[in-house]
């Protein structure tokens, strides 16, 4: 399973250094695919309904709906291809590498005798910390949305380490909430693009309610 973790790590790490929102969205979809494969190896989805729902969420919502919604919104408004998740300078890259070392050190500290679990924890910690770095450095709504989605991806990787899966309806609720989040976030991105293109049409009407 280590190669799946390596795949996830690369899908998370590379988009940080490539100035393209398409790569970032593709990276998120790939991450979801790797987590789904990891989950399928830990629990049999045919006997664990919670895991089956989680895998369905990863494959359908995170790999298909999410990229389609976000990329569709951005394409509709002819957004330029370039987007730096973290600024392209040595300081930001240095911090990202520092977070990488910190994450894997934490994994090793919590699982000193189990290399696989240490790697798993280190990779999820890196996804979470990298998303915090993205959120801290981004002023752009698209970048912030990608940062929060990377954070959610890190959580799903961390969750895939659990031996006990949650009851199916709790997992279903969590999946619905995530679907709601990406729908609301894509609506916001749509409005942001409209605001950028026609700011004069929007007026402050006052506290009417």
């Amino acid at each position: 399973m280590t190669y799946l973790l390596l795949g996830y790590f690369l899908a998370c790490f590379i988009p940080l250094f490539i100035s393209s929102w398409r790569t970032a969205i593709f990276g998120l979809a790939l991450q979801a695919g790797f987590v789904a494969l990891l989950l399928a190896r830990v629990h049999d989805p045919w006997t664990h309904p919670g895991t089956a729902i989680q895998i369905a969420e990863l494959l359908f919502i995170r790999m298909i709906v999410l990229p389609a919604l976000i990329a569709g919104t951005l394409k509709r408004f002819k957004t330029g291809p370039e987007l730096d998740l973290i600024p392209a300078n040595l300081v930001a890259w240095g911090i990202a590498i520092g977070l990488l070392i910190l994450s894997y050190s934490m994994g090793q500290r919590l699982y000193p005798e189990d290399l696989y679990f240490a790697l798993h924890l280190g990779t999820s910690a890196f996804a979470l910390l990298a998303s915090l770095l993205v959120l801290a450095l981004q002023r752009n709504a698209i970048g912030q949305a990608l940062g929060i989605l990377l954070f959610e991806s890190g959580i799903s990787l961390f969750e895939s380490q659990m031996q006990h899966s949650q009851p199916w309806f709790i997992q279903f609720g969590i999946s619905l909430v995530f679907l709601g989040l990406i729908i609301v976030a894509s609506r916001f991105l749509l409005h942001f693009r409209k605001l950028d293109q026609a700011p004069a049409q929007v007026t402050e009407e006052g506290d009417v309610l």
Partner: protein, 484 residues
């Protein structure tokens, strides 16, 4: 059954908002749903024994003193908000436009808030809190411009982030339970009875993350930046929903968490809550000193209130009753102040304190409500907030926590002076001339009634709490570490 009705009514009421020309119907549905939910919550608290606690829905729902008390509180605030929206819709044709959309999201928000309060499972509570966030985001920029839209986006980002942190905390605790061979279940009623066995390192990590996540969702420092911007930019009715309903749902989740996990890491919990609480009061005091906008000032006062609650929770023991009293007062004060600030804004079209004078003469009822609300906000006697603060402060002395006591007193004095200096000139003096004599200038009885009701409750909490109500408050305080 009645508990489920409280949450199901708003969902059923959604049917009344369907259709393009359903503005007036939506308004009536909104009011009826709020009224029926309030009556159901009132019946529940009156009919159940104080100590009665039972689970329902296969153990996923919980009816105890805390859930019944918070249910009544949020139903009362929701009814007050519905009456306010009704009164605004009667006098302003602009409000009626897209009203069905507003009502739809408000009903979803309220229903999710009710279910989060009734939940007996931490992850179910988490799901419903997320739903309240998703429903609140479109409400924040309802009929408003770019500034409100950006505030709504920041609210969505910060809220998602803070709740996700809490979720990671629960996952850490689940991992810790797995490593010791325990089943990672998060039923509140089971966790109260059986102390979970959690692996070292995972235990403090999980507890710290959950507390940090919930505190960030409450707008406590260091993750507080979203709160003043959101409360200022959102329509007053939505600010009331956030400050008095969603806030209390998160507070109850935090109460439940402390009830079940506090004893595992008492010192860590205490240090975290005291640090977040004092830092929040400090930040609120600095911002209140320089505030120029009355809605933003009340928003910073909300951060201060959240800080006082966190300090009280950190102290625990004898402060617990003061915390419960303060939480209830805080919800009522916020409802009075934000709804009244909506009336003031509708009349004068400004939020700048320097532009407003003589509110008591210009808008006698709203002026009085605003003044009384500010007195309660500042913790004057005879309001519940005063006694809540006194109990929390006496607990500091009792626990010989003199440093916290000194800091607390200094910061509250700064807030007291700065708020009074800014707000009181608005209330007295010669009235500010109204820009246009529109139909909006009349003070509606529908907005006066809920405010009057909230103020009576505030005074009752301070002067005389009936023994039945006192027993409920004591029982809730007991769950968060108060003396039984």
């Amino acid at each position: 059954m009645m508990l489920l009705i409280c949450g199901a009514i708003p969902l059923l009421a959604l049917v009344g908002t369907l259709g393009k020309d359903s503005q007036r119907r939506s308004l009536a549905t909104f009011l009826i749903a709020a009224g029926v939910s309030f009556l159901a919550a009132l019946y529940l608290i009156a009919s159940a024994e104080v100590n009665y606690a039972a689970t329902f829905l296969a153990g996923y729902g919980l009816s105890d003193a805390s859930s019944r008390l918070f249910l009544l509180l949020i139903c009362a605030v929701f009814l007050g908000t519905a009456l306010y929206v009704y009164s605004r819709a009667l006098v302003s044709p602009v409000v009626v436009k897209d009203l069905h959309r507003f009502v739809r999201f408000a009903l979803i928000f309220f229903s999710a808030a009710v279910f989060s309060i009734l939940s007996n499972h931490f992850l179910v509570t988490w799901i419903f809190l997320e739903v309240t966030t998703l429903a609140a985001a479109p409400l924040i920029y309802h009929q408003k411009g770019a500034a409100a839209f950006r505030a709504a986006w920041r609210y969505l980002l910060f809220s998602t982030f803070s709740l996700s942190l809490a979720l990671i905390g629960f996952l850490c605790l689940a991992k810790g339970m797995e490593l010791t061979g325990s089943e990672s279940l998060f039923f509140v009623s089971s966790l109260v009875e059986h102390v979970p066995n959690i692996a070292p390192l995972w235990q403090p990590l999980g507890i710290a993350l959950v507390i940090f996540g919930f505190c960030a969702k409450l707008g406590l420092a260091p993750v507080y930046a979203w709160l003043p911007e959101t409360y200022d930019a959102a329509p007053p009715s939505v600010t009331t929903l956030l400050a008095a309903i969603q806030f209390n749902c998160v507070i109850l989740a935090l109460f439940r968490f402390l009830q079940t996990f506090r004893h595992l890491e008492p010192e860590l919990v205490r240090q975290l809550l005291l640090t977040f609480g004092l830092a929040s009061i400090l930040i609120a005091s600095l911002n209140i000193v320089v505030a120029k906008n009355y809605k933003r000032l009340i928003a910073y006062a909300s951060i201060n209130h959240a800080g006082v609650i966190a300090v009280g929770l950190g102290l625990g023991k004898s402060a617990a009753f003061g915390v419960v009293l303060y939480v209830l007062s805080n919800a009522l004060v916020k409802a009075v102040l934000f709804l009244t600030s909506g009336n003031i804004k509708a009349r004068f079209h400004t939020k700048e304190m320097a532009d407003l004078h003589g509110l008591i003469k210009a808008m006698p009822y709203s002026g009085w409500f605003f003044m009384v609300g500010v007195f309660a906000l500042l913790g004057f006697a005879p309001f519940g907030s005063f006694f809540g603060e006194v109990i929390i402060m006496s607990s500091m002395i009792e626990q010989q926590n003199y440093v916290v006591f000194t800091l607390f007193c200094i910061l509250l004095t700064v807030i007291f002076v700065a708020t009074g200096r800014s707000i009181f000139p608005m209330i007295w003096g010669e009235p500010t001339p109204v820009r246009s004599q529109s139909e909006e200038t009349a003070e509606s009885v529908y907005t006066l009634l809920p405010n009057l009701f909230f103020i009576v409750l505030l005074v009752v909490l301070g002067i005389y709490i009936p023994s039945a109500a006192n027993s409920i408050l004591q029982e809730v305080a007991r769950t968060i570490g108060g003396a039984s």
